[in-house]
């Protein structure tokens, strides 16, 4: 257990004010160890020690972990980028813009468009009698042609789409 102690030396065994005589006991070794741990110079305090230390500490600066983790989450963007395309609905002069990277497939596309324009858009590939009331999604590709959405895999579609249109089914 080491020194028990009421003797003065052990009370002051932390002593390290400038110029104090270091006692040659166990305590001076631990002073040294502590000093090394703290990285502190024992003498003149005005030395600029590690003033710009960028050490990584999980406990410094004193911000709460919850705040930190929230900001960390934000630092890694959830999507690498966004890809906004214009969407026009037939008969309506003013169009909308839609981020295709925020969607994960054609289903999501149709659902979103239904929401945005509040109209019934039929799913690609469904054999439906074209009526005056349903709409279809078509897109202009890189070559300038207007194509029906849904034929090619989603990733391929993303590579080739320039803009979208919601057209009346009976006109397609």
């Amino acid at each position: 257990m080491g020194e028990q102690g009421n003797s003065p030396t052990s009370i002051e065994d932390s002593g390290h004010a400038c110029g104090s005589t270091a006692s040659l006991s166990q305590s001076s070794t631990e002073d040294l160890r502590t000093e090394l741990k703290l990285g502190l110079s024992l003498s003149i305090p005005s030395q600029t020690s590690s003033s710009s230390s960028r050490e990584q500490h999980s406990d410094w600066p004193p911000t709460k972990p919850l705040v930190r983790s929230t900001l960390d989450e934000r630092r890694i963007p959830p999507h690498p980028a966004s890809f906004f395309v214009k969407v026009h609905m037939e008969g309506i002069p003013v169009g909308r813009k839609l981020d295709l990277f925020a969607l994960d497939g054609y289903d999501s596309l149709i659902r979103t468009l239904r929401c945005m324009f509040r109209t019934n858009i039929s799913c690609p590939g469904l054999a439906q009698v074209s009526s005056r009331k349903t709409y279809l999604v078509i897109y202009e590709d890189m070559e300038g042609d207007w194509m029906m959405a849904g034929d090619v895999p989603w990733e391929l579609f993303l590579n080739t789409v320039k803009r979208l249109k919601i057209a009346k089914a009976d006109k397609c």
């Binding site: 080491g2 020194e3 028990q4 102690g5 009421n6 052990s10 009370i11 002051e12 065994d13 932390s14 002593g15 390290h16 004010a17 400038c18 166990q26 305590s27 631990e30 002073d31 160890r33 502590t34 741990k37 703290l38 502190l40 024992l42 305090p45 005005s46 600029t48 020690s49 590690s50 003033s51 710009s52 230390s53 960028r54 050490e55 990584q56 999980s58 406990d59 410094w60 600066p61 004193p62 911000t63 709460k64 972990p65 919850l66 705040v67 930190r68 929230t70 900001l71 934000r74 630092r75 890694i76 963007p77 839609l98 981020d99 979103t112 929401c115 945005m116």
Partner: protein, 589 residues
Amino acid sequence: MAIKKQKELDIEEKSPENRILSFPDEVLERVLVFVKTHKDRSAVSLVCRDWYNAERWSRTHVFIGNCYSVSPEMVARRFPNIRSVTLKGKPRFSDFNLVPPNWGSDIHPWLVVFASAYPFLEELRLKRMTVTDESLDFLARSFPEFKALSLVSCDGFSTDGLASITTYCRNLTELDIQESGIEDLGGSWLNFPESFTSLEALNFANLHSEVNFDALERLVARCKSLKVLKVNKHVMLEQLRRLLVRAPQLTELGTGPFSQDHKLRSHIDLESAFSNCKNLNTLSGLWEVSSMYLPALFPACTNLTFLNLSYTALQSAELAKLLQKCPLLRRLWVLDTVEDKGLEAVASSCHLLQELRVFPADPFEQEVIMEGGGNGVTESGFVAVSEGCPNLHYVLYFCHQMTNAAVATVVRNCPNFTHFRLCIMDMRRPDYLTNEPMDEAFGAVVKTCSKLRRLAVSGLLTDRAFEYIGTYAKNLETLSVAFAGSSDRGMQCVLEGCPKLRKLEIRDCPFGNAALLSGLERYESMRSLWMSACNLTMNGCQLLARKMPRLNVEVIKEDESDDMHAEKVYVYRSVAGPRRDAPPFVLTL
């Protein structure tokens, strides 16, 4: 909470009528109902035995600042009629990972005693306590009148525990789990029965999982007294709009993300929902703000007194526009993404500002990918705010650079600081212009701000800073010190010079046993002392423990490498004796 000797008033002996002595207890108790704060009540209880008894019978709310300072049985014995309990547990530095997990402050033993002593308990407010799902379930089933549960920075429970509360607490008015570490097992905990309508406050802002929105919407619709609603980041704008439409009476709102939501038809709908909320005084949340949606908020900002943007990476221009709509703002919390320019906007728009907190968006200075990530705030932003906001009395400021002159200017402009917390994030950084220690800065603070109650220091500091604190900070109650000081003398000055000191927390400072022992006389009048990574040894701590038997002197020993060094020391007064639930790494000396 220490029971002191009964004293009798001199007046009683001198008074001719002596009628005070025969004042019936029941009447005294009726009068004492109007004495509310726990400090006043403690004072009342010290007057004489009769007053002590009258006070203990009439007290309905008990505040326990350190859960280990007293035992639940003692509380129950002294106060028979408690309806509301506030309990604080872990030392504050546990917020920054300095206290190992499973340290203690478990609420359960308290609940067991309360279940038999206070079956009609209505409110429980906990801070930094450990609360398990079993405890929450026990709570929900044991107290039929239970109304308000507030868990701030607590841990140990999951959404299952919350489900017990919502299922069984028929009279619940408040459920607030802010900043607590919750294990998220999914969103079905929000299952208040359809007949339940008493909710007044709901805060689940930092819950990670999505709650059942339909259930939430129905809940909000039928709880007509709902005043406080703080949702989490899964509640999108269209959903928020629907909630606002159902609860225009809200006074405090915490939003979800304020960014593009396809389901939202137009900004106008959102704006109109906000303009119906005429009673909003507090706004928070605003995760990921997209500037095109921000104006939708403006109609609700007229009466805002507290704006919490500490999760919002706002730029100075956006902040400026927002602040122009908030003329009555008293408290503002922001991230340092607003930079000095943003603080200049604060200065020009918020003349009534009393409290400012500026948090670092990027505390570890990793590569900032966020837009406009800059240099945070500097001393010029600080000075600007002090020039425009003379009523400032509370500041928490995180920065990378500061000067003594700037701080002196700030306190000259705002001499009424009661809380001054400056965190220069680079350890031991001197005044960046003069290269001198920051001693004069804090000297100016304590000399000028005579009402100062709370101080946090940082930057390069010698013992001189602490000499100033000991000499001038006569009203100081809480002091936080990190990476500062040159010798034991620093800590001694504070212990000798600050008569009202209650909480002292120190980390990574060159204070040793002599400093620790110089405070022998002080610790019994303080709530607690925390010292970590200082120069304390087991011997010094043992000596303290031996000389002061009514203090609990605890050493947290996490690794076995250095037997003599006391890495983390927690000293606090207690009438309950040493802890009986201490884990193996907490040694009570």
